[in-house]
C-alpha cells in the first residue's frame, strides 16, 4: 500500500509538471498580449510596448518558464497583472466560495441521485423507473446556465426568497452565505445528479442479477437488507468512479454558474484572467484545478480498497 501511494504521488508530480508546461505554452501562443489588453484601443502603441517590456514578456519563452517554475516550487505563483495581488492569495480568497459551492453541489448530487437510482433499479421497467429516467433525461438536457436562470426567476424574482446573485461573504453569517450558494449549487449539481442517477441505476441493476442476491432473497432477508447491505455496497465501485470524475466536472461547471450568479469564485477568476490575459493567474488556477482533480482521483483509488478489500495495489 505504501509503495502504491508513493508511486501515485510520483505520478501526481509528473502530471502537474506536464500540466504546468502545457498551460504555460498554450496561454503564451494564444494571440493576444496582456499589455495590449490593458491599454485597449485608447492607450498608445508606445505605452503598450513599454508596458510589455516591463512585464518581462519580451524574454525567451523557456527562460520565462524556468523562472516561473522555480518560483512556483517555492510556493510563489507570481503576481496578478489585473489585481496586483499574489496569485496564491487570490486563489485562496476565492476558495471560500468555490469549495463550499462544489461541496454543496456534490452533496446535492449524491443525496438526490443515489436514492433515486436505487429506487429506479428496484422498480425496473415499471412506472417509477420510467418516471425517474424521464426526470434524469430532462436533467441531462437542460443547460446549466439556463437552469440557473430559471431558478433565479422563480426563487429571487418571483418569490423573493433568496438574492439573485452575489456573495456577501462568510462574515455576514453562515446562514446567509449558504443561502447565497444554494441556488447555484442546485443548478450546478442538477446535471451531474441526472448523470449519476443513471450510473447508479445500471450499477445496481447489474448487481441485482447476481446469484448472491437471489440467495439473500431466498434466505428470506427483507428487501431493504438485500438492497442496502448486499447490493448497494457491491454497486458502489462504479458509482464512486463516476462520482469522482463528476467532482472534477463540478469545478469546471462552476466557471459558467459563477458568472450567472455573479459569485466571486475560482471559476470567475479563471474566466476573467483568460479574457484579460492575466497569465500568472491563468497558470496558477489551472495548476490548482489540475492538482485538485489528480488528488480526487487518488482518493477515489484509495476508497476502492476500503469498499472492496479484495482490491490490492501491490
Amino acid at each position: 500500500m505504501r509503495r502504491y501511494a508513493a508511486r501515485r504521488a510520483a505520478a501526481l508530480v509528473a502530471t502537474l509538471f506536464f500540466v504546468s508546461a502545457l498551460v504555460f505554452v498554450v496561454v503564451r501562443i494564444l494571440p493576444g498580449d496582456p499589455a495590449a489588453l490593458i491599454m485597449g484601443t485608447e492607450g498608445s502603441r508606445e505605452a503598450s510596448d513599454r508596458l510589455r517590456e516591463s512585464m518581462g514578456l519580451n524574454r525567451p519563452l523557456p527562460v520565462q518558464y524556468v523562472e516561473w517554475l522555480a518560483r512556483a516550487l517555492r510556493g510563489d505563483l507570481g503576481r496578478s497583472i489585473q489585481y496586483d495581488l499574489p496569485v496564491g492569495e487570490l486563489i485562496a480568497s476565492r476558495l471560500p466560495v468555490t469549495l463550499p459551492l462544489a461541496l454543496m453541489a456534490a452533496a446535492f448530487m449524491v443525496v438526490a441521485a443515489v436514492p433515486l437510482g436505487l429506487y429506479a433499479a428496484t422498480r425496473h421497467r415499471r412506472a417509477g423507473d420510467y418516471a425517474t429516467m424521464i426526470l434524469s433525461q430532462i436533467g441531462i438536457s437542460v443547460p446549466q446556465f439556463w437552469a440557473g436562470l430559471l431558478l433565479i426567476l422563480l426563487f429571487s424574482v418571483t418569490l423573493g426568497w433568496v438574492r439573485s446573485g452575489g456573495f456577501e461573504g462568510w462574515s455576514s453569517g453562515v446562514g446567509a452565505a449558504l443561502r447565497s450558494l444554494l441556488l447555484p449549487a442546485i443548478a450546478l449539481g442538477l446535471f451531474q445528479a441526472a448523470v449519476l442517477v443513471r450510473a447508479t441505476r445500471s450499477a445496481v441493476l447489474d448487481v441485482l442479477r447476481e446469484d448472491y442476491v437471489r440467495t439473500a432473497r431466498a434466505k428470506g432477508l427483507s428487501e431493504l437488507r438485500v438492497v442496502g447491505r448486499h447490493t448497494l455496497r457491491n454497486a458502489l465501485i462504479p458509482i464512486i468512479t463516476v462520482a469522482g470524475i463528476q467532482l472534477g466536472q463540478l469545478l469546471a461547471g462552476a466557471i459558467v454558474l459563477e458568472s450567472v450568479f455573479a459569485l466571486p469564485g475560482l471559476g470567475r477568476l479563471a474566466l476573467g484572467a483568460i479574457t484579460a490575459r492575466d497569465l500568472p493567474v491563468v497558470q496558477g488556477v489551472a495548476l490548482f484545478i489540475a492538482s485538485t482533480i489528480v488528488v480526487i482521483n487518488f482518493a477515489v483509488d484509495l476508497v476502492y480498497t476500503v469498499l472492496d478489500p479484495r482490491i490490492r495495489y501491490e
Partner: protein
Amino acid sequence: MRRTAALVVVLAALLAVAVVPVATPAQAPRALVVQSQTEPPGLDMTATPATATSGVIFYNVQEALVKVDRHGKLVPWLAERWHTADNRNYTFFLKKGVRFHNGRELKAADVKYAFERALNPETKHPYAKDYEAIGDIIVKDDYTVTFALKSVNASFLQNIARAGSVIYPREAVETMKSHPIGTGPFRFEEWVRGDRIVLTKNPDYHVKGLPHLDRVTFRFITDPNAVLAALKAGDVDVSLFGLGPEHVQDVQKDARFQVLVGDTTNDVILAMNNSRKPYTDVRVRRAMTYGINKSDVLKGAMFGMGKILGTNVDPLNPYYVDMSKVMPYDPAKAKQLLAEAGYPNGFDTVLKVAPQYYYTVRSGEVIAENLKKIGVNVKIEQIEWGQWLSRVFREADFDLTIIGHAEAWDIKNYANPKYYFRYDSPKFQELFAKSEVTVDDRARRDVYVQMQKLMVEDAPVVWLFMHPRLAVAKKGVQGLWKDLPASAADLSEVAWAPAK
C-alpha cells in the same frame, strides 16, 4: 422499499425547508447599488485607460483641474478658474481648502507632481502623448500653478480634463492600483475582488451639499440576464452598462424602472484597411458607404436606439455637423463606383469582429446582407477580444472590422497614418495640425467643419452609428447623467427621491 421512497420525500422536504423565505435587508435610504459590467483591471487611472476603471473612480473618487460636465462643457473644478493671455501659458488658481481623502490639503505642488509623473516614461502613463505640449510647470504659490506650453495647443484644456489627468497625493501613489485616494465626493472603502467595490461619502467634499448618497456599491455582473434578474429582484438599483437594447425594451414595460437613453461619444464604425486592396481605392471605399443601409444596421443591431453617424465627430461634440445624409444608401451608385474601380462583379472580403461587443456581430450580419446586393461577399470571422487587439488593432491584419470608438475628441486617430485603419491623407493631417493650434473657437470650428467634409469625401471608414447610453434605474433614483460626454459615472448629484 417504502423506506427509500420515504427517504426521497424527506430529502425533498429538507431542500424545501433550506430555501426559507428571508426578508431582504432594508435598503438604507442613502445607499445605492450600481451594477457594473466589467471589473476594473486595477484602479489607477494613470496606469490604465480602461473605461471599467474610470467608470468607477473618475469624478467619484478622483478629480482633475477642470471637468467635462453633464452637458459636455468644460468647467473649472479643482482649479476655480484659469487664465491665459497668449494661449501658451495657462495659469490655474486652485480652489482653497480642497482636501484629499487622507486629510491633507491639495496644493499646487501636487499638480506639478502629477503631471511630471505622467510625462516620465518610466511610469507608463497611457496618455503620456497628451501632455507632450507641456514644457514647464511652475508653482507660483500654494494655490497658483502655471503650465508653460512648448507651442499653442488647442486640446490642452481637454487633455487636462481627462481621466489620466487626475490629481492625487504623492504619498499615496504606490497604492493607487488597489486603493485610490483623491479629492472626490466619495472615498474608496473596499474592493472585494470579483464581487464589488464600495465607496463611502466624503464628508469634507469641496462642493458644499454634495454628495447626497452615503454609500455606493458597484457590483460586477457580466451576464445581461443576470443583470436583469438582479434589477427585478431588487438587488441592484442602477445598471449603467451591460444591458443591450433588447433588455432595455423589456424593462421599459416595467413600471418600477426608468430607462435612460442618451448620447455618448462612442462611434461605431466599419473600418476598412486603407493600406490593403481593394480599399486603397477611394471609389471602393465610397461604394461601401453607399452600399450599406445604416438605418437597417441601427434597427438590426440596436433596435433603432442610437443615432446614425456621417463622420467620426459625434453629436456631443460642440463642432458636430450632421453629415449622416450626405452619402445615403444607394446600391446602384455603389455598383457603378465598384465598376469604375475595376470590380464590376464585386469581390470577396473578410470581416473580423469580436463578439465581446454584441453590436459588432449583429451589425456585421446586416452589413453582409446589404453588401451582397452590390456583389461584395463578406465572410464574417469572429475572434476573441485579445486576438482582435493584437491582430486587428496592433498589426492591422484585416480587411474589414467593426468596433466602437468611445473616446471623446478621437478625430486625431485619422491624422495618424499608423492607426489600424491606415488612413493616410496629408491634407487631413495638415488640417488636424491646424486645428490643434487654432485656439479661437470660431476659427477652430471652421477647421473642424472642413475636416468633417474631407472625411466624408475620403470615406476611410464607414461611420455607422453612435452607440446610445442605455441605463436603467429604479424609479426614485434622481440626478443620473442622461448623456455621457465623459467616460465616467458621476454619482455626486445622485439621490433617492423623498419617500411619498
